[in-house]
Amino acid sequence: MTEQGKTVFSRAVAAVTGGGLVSLLRTRTIVVLVLLLLALVAGIELARPGTVNALWASNMMLFAAPLGIVAAGQTLVMLTGGIDLSVANVATASAYLMATHSGLGVAPAILYGLGVGFVVGLINGIGVALLRVQPLVMTLGTGLMTEGILVVYSQKKMADAPRVPQFIEDLGAGKSLGGIPNDLIVWVPVAIILIFVLRRTGYGRLLYAIGDNSNACRLAGIRVWRILLLNYVTCGLLAAAAGLIIVGGTNSAELRLAEVYLLPSVAAVIIGGTSIFGGRGGYSGTIIGALILTVLNSILTLLDVPESVRQILYGTIILLLAAAYTRLTD
């Protein structure tokens, strides 16, 4: 459709609906997302009355936190027009390295875990920002490298089995003050800082600018590579932190621990309204996206279908959501 055709079309639609729904969908996507989330919750309550209660809500927050944190890094990267396919491998490696170093004490073990995120993020950043490798290829390569190194390392470490320290277990699975999940201690500050940085600081504005037109930024004298480098390092660190929470929740460091988080981390960002081409979106949408996916998961668990069917349903719903969304905001 031509640009003119588009405006005519949207005007016609606006005339029909009184300008209400469609323009609301376009300008206040976050409202729509919240409505969708509420609809899903209402659906659960209708299908299985009594499911939705304080315990259920607190469980949802507990499960959504690691996804929200991985997706936070993914949001930053996608705002600049990139993508990070290594987040799941980084999260797994971080959890595993932390667990095998838990003998040193909790703090050094956590540092080992976050160190993985820092190193892989730095390599990603150097590749993308300085050597201008396509983010998809770069993070694919570093993801393969991380996974390979982890497999080799795990075979060397066969003797002392990985152990998840109590502190991490409390962080990833525990609740305090009458049901508030402990992992919110990480997620809430991450969310507040991220939303503040994206909306109120120069760094945030630069991210949008780079995503919109990185050449223009370069010509305007912005050191684009610095921003991108910092961005990928942050994404790596966030993925590593999420890995620690995930392993706290499962209490066993496995080699495919965080594999399942790759697709949702991208999907949460897309559903949350951040464009994969960069320059548009934000973290508040991603938060709702992560919550929607978590509630969706819980619905599929309630349905009690085999893993294969669950996988098919989950993928189909993500596709439908993303399609509806892309069409609306285009």
Binding site: I83, G127, L131, R132, V133, Q134, L136, V137, M138, L140, G141, T142, G143, L144, M145, T146, E147, G148, I149, V151, V152, Q155, L262, L263, V266, A267, I270, I276, F277, P306, E307, S308, V309, R310, Q311, I312, Y314, G315, T316, I318, L319, A322, A323, T326, R327, D330
Partner: protein, 331 residues
């Protein structure tokens, strides 16, 4: 005497120009020859059996790379290839178990059609939903993975020996593995007519500049759709190859091939920007990537380092490619 000198210079410029235009054309055969030479050097008793297992190992990966190449040339990316291969693999293994050789060939044709149908669905999703290719195929791959699990929950099934022999046996001499013949025949039979057709030209046109292609009257959506159909077809051949070389169906075996196939495409010198490259580079790269873990085993090193080397190779080659591109655009 000036004429030969001039034509000689002309030839040099021509080689130089085509080298600059498509470095992989010369780089890939050299890399493959070098890695074969290294293999023979560290394992002097390299025999027909080693060649055969190399061809068998590279067969599914080469098809995964071929599948990805078609889509990448058209400017897209297909992250569902491994799952489509898995579907083809389990479909073949679960239906052929008690079939005769003739029946299994018919079933193979059916599997190829199923692959094309899945590819067509991928194409429809990408074209109709307007979701970016990466996200659309990442998600649809998740769905196909689920379908593979529905067809065959645990590794199992099988196929008649004559059918397996298509991928494991040898032709005429022990030095000509069937897997290699199958690979060359299948890729040649699908790719050469495609590349020479109008559609082939349109794939390149859409990949190199979508707007220019549109203004020249190319139907963008139909071309991108067709690219995914061919990707599905190549993935299905790869899935059949997996059945032949492993003898069973495994619903999770395909996953590995999405990323490694993309790796082979990148190592094979195809720019993810689209519109450039051919089939030779990625297929050869599949052999190079298969040789790496083999060599590590010969050297008594943990073959799991293979993945590390693969990842490094992908990154390094793309960096060199980016550097070459930058130099070229400076001139």
């Amino acid at each position: 005497m000036t004429v030969p000198a001039a034509s000689h210079r002309h030839l040099t410029t021509r080689i130089w120009r085509s080298l600059r235009r498509n470095p992989s054309l010369f780089f890939m055969p050299a890399l493959l020859a070098a890695s074969l030479a290294i293999t023979v050097a560290i394992h002097p008793q390299f025999s027909d059996f080693d060649l055969q297992s190399l061809a068998m190992g590279a067969l599914p990966l080469a098809f995964a790379a071929a599948a990805q190449t078609v889509v990448v040339i058209a400017g897209g990316i297909d992250l569902s290839i491994g799952s489509v291969m898995a579907v083809a693999n389990v479909l073949a293994a679960s239906t052929m178990e008690k079939a005769s050789f003739g029946q299994s060939l018919l079933l193979a044709v059916a599997v190829l059609m199923a692959g094309m149908a899945i590819g067509a669905l991928n194409g429809l999703i990408v074209v109709l939903s307007r979701i970016p290719d990466v996200v659309a195929t990442l998600t649809s791959g998740f769905i196909w993975g689920g379908i593979a699990l529905v067809i065959l929950e645990k590794p199992g099934g099988g196929a008649p020996q004559e059918f397996l022999n298509l991928g494991t046996g040898t032709l005429f001499t022990p030095w000509l593995p069937n897997a290699l013949v199958l690979l060359v025949a299948a890729v040649g039979a699908i790719w050469i007519p495609l590349r020479r057709s109008k559609l082939g030209l349109q794939l390149y046109a859409v990949g190199s500049d979508r707007i220019a292609a549109f203004r020249s009257g190319v139907n963008i959506d139909r071309t991108r759709f067709a690219a995914y159909v061919f990707s599905g077809l190549f993935s299905a051949v790869g899935g059949l190859g997996l059945t032949m070389t492993t003898g069973i169906g495994a619903p999770l075996a395909g996953v590995y091939y999405t990323l490694s196939g993309l790796g082979a495409v990148v190592v094979g010198g195809i720019s993810l920007a689209g519109g450039r490259g051919g089939m030779l580079g990625p297929v050869m790269a599949a052999f190079v990537l298969t040789l790496i873990p083999t060599d590590l085993i010969f050297l008594n090193i943990d073959p799991n380092f293979g993945q590390v080397i693969q990842g490094t190779l992908i990154v390094v080659i793309v960096m060199i490619g980016g550097f070459v591109d930058k130099e070229r655009s400076r001139k």
